[in-house]
Each structure stands twice: as structure tokens, then as C-alpha cells.
């Protein structure tokens, strides 16, 4: 049973007519071709499919598109186009945070969510902030360092 679902996607109003039980993850990848969002565990635990829903980080693999009607979604494509997002992406590149890269879109979203709420996180707070994102290359230390770098470089933006 299809239904028309309208929502804001990376700042633009969009709508789609589809089965409301399809996962937000699949809609983003298959229908909107936003393939930055990845499918890892499919159980809401690994964080590879992280997006911002109404500004809060969520795992898009457990959210049916029907629950997104009238809401606001931001994907890695949207986040990395913002001033803060650009700083994080550059810090990840400069800090050598990326190995295979599969977890990185989720990590950048988690870093963006963290720094937006806590501009000066401690090491422990950063680790807590990315505790919902699993890096199977286990390169956590460089990711933590890079988030610290992004916090320093973007000081003025995060404190806004």
C-alpha cells in the first residue's frame, strides 16, 4: 500500500510515493541516489547508516520512511556541504582518520552532532560521541585526533 511521504531532505522539500514501511536507508540510497549513507549491520548498532533526523543522529536502517513524513533529514551529502561539515571532512583527511572509509560518513555525522552540541569535547566525550559508530579497521585513535582537530579549527563555528 503506497502512500505519499513528504519531508525535507538536505534543506529541500521532497516527496515520494512508496510503501511507508520501506527503510529510510533504502529510500536515500535507491530513490534519491544518496549513496554516502551505508548499510552495515542493519540492526541500528554500527552507525554506518547514520543521518540526522530533526537534527538528531539516528540510524536510518531502523526507521520506516512513513515515520519521516513531515520531518527533516540531513545526510552526509548535506552535512559535508555545511561550513562545519567541511571542516570535519578536511580534518579527517589531514588527520589520516580514513582507512577503508566505510564507517566514515557515519563518523562525520557523529562528529558533527557531537561538536554542534559540545564545541570543546574531551577525549572521553569524543569516544562517547562516536560510541555508536563501529570502525572495523579499528582506527579509532586517529578518528578521535581528527575530531579534536576539527574542534580546534572550527572553534568559531561550533560555538555559534
Amino acid at each position: 500500500m503506497d502512500a505519499k511521504i513528504s519531508f525535507k531532505l538536505n534543506g529541500k522539500n521532497v516527496s515520494i510515493t512508496t510503501d511507508p514501511l520501506r527503510r529510510l536507508l533504502d529510500i536515500l540510497r535507491d530513490d534519491f541516489k544518496l549513496t554516502g549513507v551505508k548499510e552495515g549491520c542493519s540492526e541500528g548498532e554500527c552507525g554506518a547508516c547514520s543521518v540526522l533526523l530533526n537534527g538528531k543522529i539516528v540510524t536510518s536502517c531502523i526507521i520506516p520512511i512513513g515515520a519521516v513524513d513531515g520531518q527533516e533529514v540531513m545526510t552526509i551529502e548535506g552535512v559535508s556541504a555545511t561550513e562545519g561539515g567541511k571542516i570535519i571532512v578536511e580534518a579527517f583527511a589531514d588527520g589520516g582518520a580514513v582507512q577503508c572509509g566505510f564507517c566514515i560518513p557515519g563518523m562525520v555525522i557523529a562528529a558533527y552532532y557531537l561538536l554542534s552540541n559540545n564545541p570543546n569535547p574531551t577525549d572521553d566525550e569524543i569516544r562517547l560521541g562516536i560510541s555508536g559508530n563501529i570502525c572495523r579497521c579499528t582506527g579509532y585513535d586517529l578518528i578521535v585526533e581528527s575530531i579534536k582537530l576539527a574542534a580546534e579549527r572550527g572553534e568559531k563555528i561550533w560555538k555559534k
Partner: protein, 305 residues
């Protein structure tokens, strides 16, 4: 594949009307249901009954203190919202803040955690401890029931087909106790399903006897465990080493862990002993926790293959 019907009400009244006419599965956060019904990569989850999405119903998203001083939590409140709201009792905030991953905590709801009726669910432990009730609403009215009665057994609720869980009402908080304890044993700090979680609280009378003591255990049986009979062993008396052992022995008879039973029993024994013996010394800190040198020595049984 045949698709099931999916309802998307925008108000609670609309949702209750749908529930009165159609036998459907309410879906809020999706953290249990979407996973339980998932198929393979890229495919839509398969439900055998119609689904009603209630994630965004504003009526289910409130947290406040009612006129009786009880904390009322809308069933659609997420773990993050509960963990961050200091109106919510301490034990519940601890449990909510350590549930799953951050992204999941922004979706998972307290109503869903109760309705999932899993003995490993994070919120029932504190809810049993604090005599919490659920409010069940239908087009015909509403009723309240203790969470510990509402969860009948594994995956089974005392819920009529036209009812929705709309509120969770918690009459007690840490303010009603002198010392509190909450400890989750998981394989990791984040993203962990409880191996065993113990919630405890104690209040002393002026003469130094125990006015109230409570203990509840998660993941130690088919259902969250709590027993007033066991707690009554120590209530009205002064804490002594013998009495603590009596409580431990009696509680050991209440729990029925299936996997790794000796590990779970030993961890439970030690956490009760720790809490009661430290509380008996009346320390300054209200929160009694496990120390770094605190170890559970019971060995887990080898994994079944």
C-alpha cells in the same frame, strides 16, 4: 510480495480509533520491530499484520510531574529524552543512557522497550524497582497497571487489542531513598545487551533500621526479577552480615538465569552484598557503585555451539 497496510495517524485520537477497528502493530522507534522483521540488504521489512506508525504523535512525547508528585513519561519518549531529563528518576536515566548506541537511543522509546517484553530490556529493571505503572488507553477509556503485572512473561503483555500504551507513571525516585545503586554488566561500555543489570535502593529509619529496601535484576530469568518477600527479610531490621547473606540466599532463589547461570548468580550475590554492606556504613555519597577492584570471579560457562 503482498504489502501489509500501514497506518500513519497524526493524533492520538486518530491512532486509538484505528486500533479499535484494526488489529495492527504500533511502531514507534523501530529499534526492535524493524530489526525483528528485517530481511536482507535493501529489502523492506516483512510484517505479518498491518502496522501503525506512532513515532511522531505529540501526545506521547511529554515528560512532567503530576499533581501526586509522580513522574509521567509519554510512551513515545526516546531513551535520550529520558536520559537527559532530570525529572526522570535516576535509575531510569542510568538505564536509558546505557541502552544501545547513540543513534538508537534517539529512536528507541520507553513504550517500545516495555512492549518488547524482553527479560534483557533495559528499562523494566528500574520500572519494577520504583513500582511504575503503564497507562493503557483505548477509545473506551483508560486504565493503569503495574509494569510488573503488565509484562506477563517473555513477549507477552496484558494488553487488549484496542489498547495503546500511552504513559509510564513512576511514583518513586531517588529522593525517596538514602542510597541507590545501578550497575550494568555488559560485554562493552556502549552498544551492549545486558548480561545482568541490578537496580537497588535503600532507606533507613531514624533508629537505623531499614525502612525500605528494593532490588530488581535484569537478564536473570524469563522476566525481570523483583520480590517483596525477599526485601521484607531486611526491612524493619538493622543490617548485619548474617541478614545480608539471608537476603542474598533468598534472592538467589528468585532468579532463574538460563545461560551462564553461575556467573549471573555470583554477580548478583556480589552486587547485593556490596550495596548493603556499604550502605550500612552510611557513606557520604548517595550513589553506591562498584569499585575498580571489584571483580566477579564466577566464570562464564563455555558458549553453546
Amino acid at each position: 510480495m503482498e504489502e501489509v497496510k500501514c497506518y500513519m495517524p497524526s493524533t492520538l485520537i486518530e491512532a486509538l480509533e484505528i486500533k479499535s477497528k484494526v488489529d495492527c502493530i504500533p511502531l514507534a522507534g523501530g529499534s526492535d520491530l524493524m530489526v525483528a522483521h528485517k530481511r536482507t540488504l535493501g529489502l523492506t521489512p516483512k510484517f505479518d499484520k498491518p502496522v501503525m506508525i506512532i513515532r511522531n504523535l505529540p501526545e506521547l512525547r511529554k515528560i512532567y510531574i503530576n499533581e501526586k508528585g509522580e513522574c509521567v513519561i509519554g510512551s513515545g519518549c526516546t531513551s535520550t529524552e529520558i536520559a537527559e531529563n532530570t525529572l526522570c528518576p535516576w535509575h531510569l536515566r542510568q538505564a536509558a543512557s546505557r541502552m544501545g548506541a547513540i543513534g538508537l537511543r534517539n529512536s528507541a522509546t520507553i513504550g517500545g522497550n516495555i512492549a518488547n517484553a524482553s527479560p534483557k530490556g533495559d528499562t523494566p529493571g528500574p520500572l519494577y524497582l520504583l513500582d511504575a505503572r503503564v497507562k493503557l488507553s483505548s477509545v473506551n477509556g483508560e486504565r493503569e497497571e503495574l509494569v510488573s503485572d503488565f509484562i506477563v512473561k517473555f513477549r507477552t503483555l496484558d494488553l487488549k487489542s484496542d489498547e495503546l500504551i500511552t504513559e509510564v507513571i513512576v511514583p518513586y525516585s531517588e529522593d525517596d531513598f538514602d542510597y541507590i545503586f545501578w550497575h550494568k554488566v555488559g560485554t562493552r561500555k556502549a552498544n551492549a545487551i545486558s548480561k545482568i543489570t541490578l537496580s537497588q535502593a535503600i532507606k533507613f529509619a531514624e533508629d537505623g533500621t531499614v525502612a525500605d529496601y528494593r532490588v530488581s535484576a535484569t537478564a536473570t530469568g524469563a522476566k525481570t526479577n523483583r520480590s517483596r518477600d525477599v526485601e521484607n527479610i531486611i526491612i524493619g531490621k538493622k543490617i548485619s552480615a548474617e541478614l545480608i547473606e539471608d537476603v542474598i540466599k533468598a534472592f538467589d532463589g528468585v532468579i532463574s538465569p538460563r545461560a551462564m547461570p553461575e556467573f549471573r548468580r555470583e554477580a548478583t550475590r556480589r552486587m547485593i552484598r556490596r550495596f548493603l554492606s556499604v550502605a550500612a556504613t552510611h557513606p557520604e555519597n548517595k550513589v553506591i557503585d562498584t569499585y575498580d577492584d571489584y571483580h566477579v570471579t564466577g566464570q562464564p560457562e563455555p558458549r553453546r555451539k
